[in-house]
């Protein structure tokens, strides 16, 4: 009797386990889904991607593998993604700006454009700020420009081409001179500011602890709108320099993917971006809330972003 009950329970649970994905979704991947992250392990894209995959896995029961495909700010990964056959289970995750800048600057050398992908959604927007040590003799971008003119030149740390282009735009608009030092990521920018080797630098989140501790101050926001955590600080645009970047973390698949797969995966992503544990990691990584623009919104963001990047970053 006891054994029969056990066997029954086992059989029932086996049937339920097999059947449950069918109840949850009409479409299910025929094998593990792979999320390819366009950056190395340990960065903010990687951290958010891994937690996103974890939450999606929990919600859908799908097996999801996360891989890092670093290179060229995501360009290596998107190149690979655009060249592989449609398999309905390989997803790329990257950041809009580095891809758009490469498309503008050497689009003829790249085997893909914005039409090469079907977009699944976005997860967050990075807020980029120009920050300086608390002891810096200026408090905003106009003050920094005036100080640079007074001193002859001013050392500023950047970490990626878009920021170099923004500073060059500032140079040509205002006539102030900057010594642009390229650092290996935001953490090194912070080190150069704290060590006094540069007067200001860009941070995409690495500076939060120093704002909190009072060691640094925000000089300008580099996005289109003001920074959510420093609403009193003017942007580059408001300070008279017509340049901004809005780096957005997004997911995409090879163009031509089964629409049923796109729908199922994008709604799984949407569901995951609403989970509190994901919101927590996004808050840690970019100091903002998760943002999902949906499939059409993401496509529009990339198309508009490319047009804007052409104006800002064309050689």
């Amino acid at each position: 009797m006891k054994l029969t009950t056990k066997l029954m329970a086992l059989a029932t649970s086996a049937v339920m386990a097999l059947a449950s994905p069918a109840f949850a979704e009409d479409w299910a991947p025929d094998g593990p889904l792979t999320i390819q992250i366009g950056f190395g392990a340990g960065g903010s894209t990687d951290t958010m991607g891994r937690v996103l995959a974890e939450v999606m896995k929990k919600n859908t029961g799908w097996n999801i593998v996360v891989e890092n495909k670093p290179g060229g700010g995501g360009v290596a990964m998107f190149t690979g993604l655009s060249q592989r056959p449609v398999d309905n289970k390989t997803i790329g995750m990257g950041v809009s700006i580095p891809v758009l800048v490469q498309l503008v600057q050497r689009g003829d050398q790249l085997p893909f454009d914005t039409d090469s992908f079907d977009y699944l959604g976005t997860v967050a927007k990075a807020e980029l700020a120009l920050v300086a040590s608390k002891d810096a003799p200026f408090d905003d971008l106009e003050g920094m420009i005036a100080y640079a003119k007074e001193q002859g030149s001013l050392p500023v740390a950047t970490m990626a081409p878009p920021q170099v282009l923004m500073m060059n735009q500032t140079k040509s608009t205002t006539g102030a001179d900057f010594n642009l030092v390229t650092a290996d990521g935001g953490a090194e920018v912070m080190k150069l500011i704290l060590g006094g080797q540069v007067m200001a630098g860009f941070g995409s989140g690495e500076h939060y602890p120093y704002l909190e501790s009072g060691d640094m101050k925000v000089i300008a926001g580099a996005n289109q709108s003001r920074l959510s955590y420093a609403p009193d600080v003017k942007t580059f645009i408001e300070s008279g320099v017509n340049a901004y970047v809005d780096p957005i973390f997004f997911l995409a698949m090879r163009a031509g993917t089964d629409p049923a797969a796109i729908e199922a995966i994008s709604s799984a992503i949407d569901e995951a971006t609403k989970a509190p544990e994901f919101a927590k990691i996004v808050q840690n990584a970019v100091k903002g809330d998760p943002i999902n623009m949906g499939t059409d919104g993401t496509k529009q963001m990339m198309v508009d972003g490319l047009a804007n990047a052409k104006i800002l970053f064309a050689k």
Binding site: L110, K191, Y210
Partner: protein, 500 residues
């Protein structure tokens, strides 16, 4: 300032059986993957991080610390037993470890590596726990100009490793720097030497080059020597003298200054982000050899060589946490992974970490101390096992190692492209070794090249190309003068060496 009660509470949190179990599991995993050629502790950590999502912060971090520390000890095993270092920082250990193992003393060699690794690691942990804040402030003052000077100094000391032919040494270094320049240039982000392969945009992957050059080329070398006869990959001779199977206290004690120097070099380089354990291991080795009364015995199985290399590369790992915890700046890939684990568990490394999360930080320190003891204990048991494993016939050991290198590199570089690069560098490495060019010099130049170039570019941007600015930095000036002194000294020593 953190209150004493917080420190005690932190240590109290750490020293529980539950955490000990996670440390133990981490160390065992770390030693295993470290010892398997091709798969390093970094990859083990990257894979393990998602598994820590469900854990509380302290056991999660204790586990990762265990993996990282276990990997250090494990990394020396293939280098010593088979001359196939899985990571470049163990390459210096192979220089004397492998000859000693070949003399029939594999246990002695690996045990010396274990003891000196843990000595160096413990030294840097103590420095981290006691004086990390002032050290981090000092490290901040090392700007790009000082880093360039420090790297020139490192290169000048490495000149001591060049060996017989200065020309061949310089060619190997130049080739290493050339390979390091593949990928986007650090200033204008223009792709260089990528030949249309966007996979190369961020440069040649270090695991591909290091494992191809150091491990696969050695396996190719062994294959070329095989004549179809079955022989074990290593012969552990039973000489009847128990001292050949262990490290005596007198031997350990005779290495105390070597280990202290190695640990100091490792701690200093570890506190400066981005230079890394490979340079530390080789600098310590070169300095020990130069300072020795009998430099001729190095490379032939001198335990001082093992002690120098292992104490330095292990000290880097603890010291890497100095800029990480105090400033939020990761000093290495391993440290970057620990940051991402911190962030997943809601900790933000940086200036307020000790204030906001002091108890957790001291819990981490407690876990590190536990990990050192567990490492020693697991290592003692594990080494016997590895020596047994490697006593299997060559045909089995080397083909398994080859397979593991393929698997490891394809995992570390996420694909077969990295494996292709590995094979290319294996052939280059085989040819270079056959014609007497130093692989070690190549790897160090390759490893330090990108950082060196970046620091030069940064320095030039800061000074507008005005070299006289160097005179304003006493630290840089002192390091440059020391570099000249050490080059002259090494060259004279080499000339004298050839006269004898």
């Amino acid at each position: 300032m953190v209150e004493f009660s917080t420190i005690l509470a932190g240590f109290g949190d750490a020293f529980s059986l539950y955490n000990l179990a996670f440390v133990l599991f981490g160390v065992v995993l770390g030693q295993f993957v470290g010892a398997v050629p091709g798969i390093g502790p970094i990859m083990a950590m990257a894979i393990a991080i998602p598994f820590t999502f469900g854990l509380d912060p302290l056991p999660a971090i204790a586990f990762l610390v265990g993996v990282n520390k276990g990997g250090l000890v494990g990394g020396a095993v293939p280098a010593v037993l088979m001359n196939t270092p899985g990571t470049p920082d163990a390459a210096a250990t192979a220089l004397d470890g492998y000859p000693l193992a070949k003399q029939g003393k594999p246990l002695k060699a690996t045990k010396m590596a274990l003891f000196s690794s843990i000595t160096g690691d413990t030294f840097s942990d103590i420095v981290l726990i006691t004086v990390s804040a002032p050290l981090a402030v000092l490290a901040l003052k090392m700007g790009p100009i000082e880093v360039v000077a420090l790297m020139i100094f490192a290169f000048s000391i490495l000149a001591g490793l060049i060996g017989n032919s200065l020309t061949k040494g310089i060619i190997a270094a130049a080739f290493g720097l050339l390979a390091a320049s593949v990928g986007q240039d650090p200033e204008n982000f223009t792709p260089r030497l990528i030949f249309g392969y966007w996979d190369l945009f961020d440069g040649l992957a270090l695991p591909s080059v290091a494992i191809g050059m150091l491990a696969i080329s050695e396996i190719l070398h062994r294959l070329s020597e095989a004549h179809g006869n079955m022989r074990p990959a290593i012969i552990a001779k039973d000489t009847g003298n128990p001292d050949d199977r262990r490290v005596t206290w007198a031997e350990y004690w005779s290495c105390r200054f070597t280990m202290l120097r190695g640990a100091t070099i490792g701690t200093i380089l570890g506190a400066l982000p981005g230079i890394g354990s490979t340079a530390a291991a080789f600098m310590s080795y070169a300095m020990t050899k130069a300072g020795s009364k009998d430099p001729g015995s190095f490379g032939k199985g001198n335990i001082q060589g093992i002690a120098a290399s292992e104490s330095a590369n292990s000290a880097v790992v603890g010291a890497n946490l100095i800029p990480l915890l105090t400033l939020g700046i990761p000093g290495s890939v391993g440290a970057a992974l620990i940051i991402s684990a911190f962030m997943i568990h809601g900790m933000q490394p940086g200036p307020l970490l000790f204030e906001n999360q002091g108890r957790l930080v001291y819990g981490l320190f407690g876990a590190m101390i536990m990990a050192n003891f567990v490492n020693l204990w697991v290592g003692q048991l594990g080494l016997r096992l590895w020596v047994k494993v490697v006593s299997a016939p060559e045909s089995i050991i080397f083909s398994s190692a080859l397979l593991l290198c393929f698997v490891g590199v394809s995992m570390a570089t996420s694909g077969l492209f990295g494996v292709a690069i590995m094979l290319i560098f294996a052939v280059i490495g085989y040819l270079m070794a056959s014609f007497g060019y130093s692989l070690v010099i190549f790897i160090i130049a390759f490893f330090l090249g990108p950082r060196f170039e970046k620091s030069i570019a940064q320095s030039l941007a800061l000074t507008d190309g005005d070299l006289t600015q160097v005179l304003k930095s006493p630290v840089a000036l002192a390091l440059l003068i020391l570099s000249v002194v050490s080059v002259v000294w090494f060259l004279r020593k080499n000339v004298h060496g050839e006269d004898e």
